[in-house]
């Protein structure tokens, strides 16, 4: 039964609120209706081509949507799915092929050649920046400037574990465990003070010569035994990752970051008292060989490779 609005003559839905409030029952606009039928047809086509309906323990796989992809074990063809699509893209996608070509090139080149070749260097800079940003920058910071006291600076020319490309590659692949024992139970506070004075004197920092002379005996003798790792010249050993104490670069005690002589002394004393344990994770399992090579070349390019 059709209801009509007495004034306009337009058909209404028939129910009335608050005495005279009614709802017109105009037909849907044609364009809207056809768009709606269009979506229904789209759905039917979509259901046919793509995996769609569950049936028992399986589902309709769709038609004419085969993807052929290659893995380590061979070539396979399957119905459309995002995993196969990704595999295909990672192996033979346009970007993957460009990248692969560059990586193959890097693989066959020596580090010296990579540094010289502008194109390869440009690739190393862009690809290496990505890997470095994701895996290394969390500790070593953007640009490899490090955090004093925690994570070594990779952009200066001091390398605890060696700065040749071979050393850097080894460090990335196997990680490092940096360890200096704590001397708080071995040496008295007085003696730690003497050693700290000696350590400061090594790089020309202000120190008490009398205390430093006493400290030298402890450092170079069996009482402290510091020379065993830092060497008698105090230049450090890359096999141990022990720091060179004679240069102007401080990686743990923040001597350069504080002003007063007392604060500098305290910074060194704190390291001797508490020791150091630092671990860099091994990336050999996580990163591919070529990625490690690019990363090594990238880090070497910070201007401080040896």
């Amino acid at each position: 039964m059709a209801y009509k609005d007495p004034i306009t003559g337009v058909e209404t839905t028939g129910h009335v609120w608050d005495d005279d409030l009614q709802e017109f029952n105009n037909p849907l606009p044609r364009w809207w209706l056809w768009a709606f039928y269009g979506t229904v047809i789209f759905a039917l086509i979509y259901w046919t081509i793509y995996p769609a309906w569950p049936i028992g323990k399986s589902y309709t796989k769709g038609i004419m949507n085969d993807i052929t992809y290659t893995t380590r074990s061979g070539e396979y063809t399957t119905h459309w799915n995002t995993r196969a699509l990704l595999q295909k893209e990672m192996v033979s996608g346009e970007m993957a092929l460009i990248q692969k070509k560059e990586l193959e090139k890097v693989k066959g080149m020596s580090y010296a050649d990579i540094a010289k070749d502008a194109d390869t260097q440009a690739f190393v800079q862009s690809f290496g920046k990505g890997i470095f940003g994701d895996y290394c920058a969390a500790c070593h910071q953007t640009g490899g400037v490090g955090v004093i006291g925690a994570y070594p600076n990779l952009s200066d020319d001091a390398w605890l574990w060696g700065g040749t490309t071979k050393d850097i590659e080894n460090t990335i692949r196997h990680g490092r465990l940096g360890f200096m024992p704590s001397y708080k139970d071995t040496l008295s506070e007085e003696k730690i003070n003497e050693v700290a004075n000696y350590v400061l004197s090594l790089s020309g920092e202000k120190s008490d010569p009398v205390l430093a002379a006493k400290g030298k005996e402890i450092f170079q003798g069996n009482e402290g035994g510091c020379y065993a790792c830092h060497t008698t010249e105090a230049k450090g050993m890359k096999e141990q990752g022990s720091a060179n104490l004679t240069d102007q670069i401080w990686t743990i005690a923040d001597v350069k970051g504080v002003d007063s002589a007392e604060a500098k002394l305290n910074a060194v004393k704190s390291v001797i008292t508490n020791g150091v344990t630092r671990r860099m994770p091994a990336w050999g399992e996580r990163l591919k060989d070529t990625e490690i090579k690019v990363l090594t070349a990238y880090i070497s390019s910070f201007g401080a490779g040896q």
Binding site: H15, K57, Y59, Y76, N81, A84, Q87, G130, A138, C139
Partner: protein, 251 residues
Amino acid sequence: MLKHESIETNAGLLIILTLVAIGIGGLVEIVPLFYIDGTIEKVQTADGKDAVRPYTPLEQRGRDIYIREGCYTCHSQMIRPFRDEALRYGHYSLAAESQYDHPFQWGSMRRGPDLARVGGKYSNGWHVKHLNNPRDVVPTSIMPSYPWLLKNDLAYGDIKDRMIALKKVGVPYSLTQLEYDANVKKFGEEVAKMLDINNADANLLAQAQEKNTDGDPSRVTEMEALVAYLQVLGTMVDFKAHDEHEFIQFR
């Protein structure tokens, strides 16, 4: 016969019928996944054990803290099968990898990076520093500081109850000898021991002390639990040992 008018003028009925209509849409999408073969991939190690195991008591407590602190509001744990995600985060997440997660932490918002494969990526010491004050290691970080994690002792008096609750929703922690034996068969003896509810407290303590993430062996802090959890994320499946085809064929 339901008429247009009777639904429209009856709010209660309108709500119920709206829920039914939406419910059908949801159920059609979700329910089939429970019985379609291969929704959860079978991933086994070389010696025939399940690669993905439930969390140890310490990791599970860490997971509780992860949820308590609302980490999921900014971090997802779901790497999607796209090239950009593969390059940044690693292998796409498998359904198998979150099969023991209740509730799952897939998330839908990334204010911070995805954490599905964060395990082993950074050192324990880095995590402690970072959680305590992110700006100490990432100057530009917008993540809040969580300094109380190092101060709070981990409450684990109710760890057994927590594991029993998870067992009720299908996580294979063991209470009886029979269940333990089944776990030995499924996961190997070493893992089965960690999943034994009867030894939960001892296992939790032993793992915390072995790792000693916070540098103080005399106590177990919330930090240690959370870091133990973060360090296991995404590490259970050794993707180098599998051919990609193994995972693709499940789709």
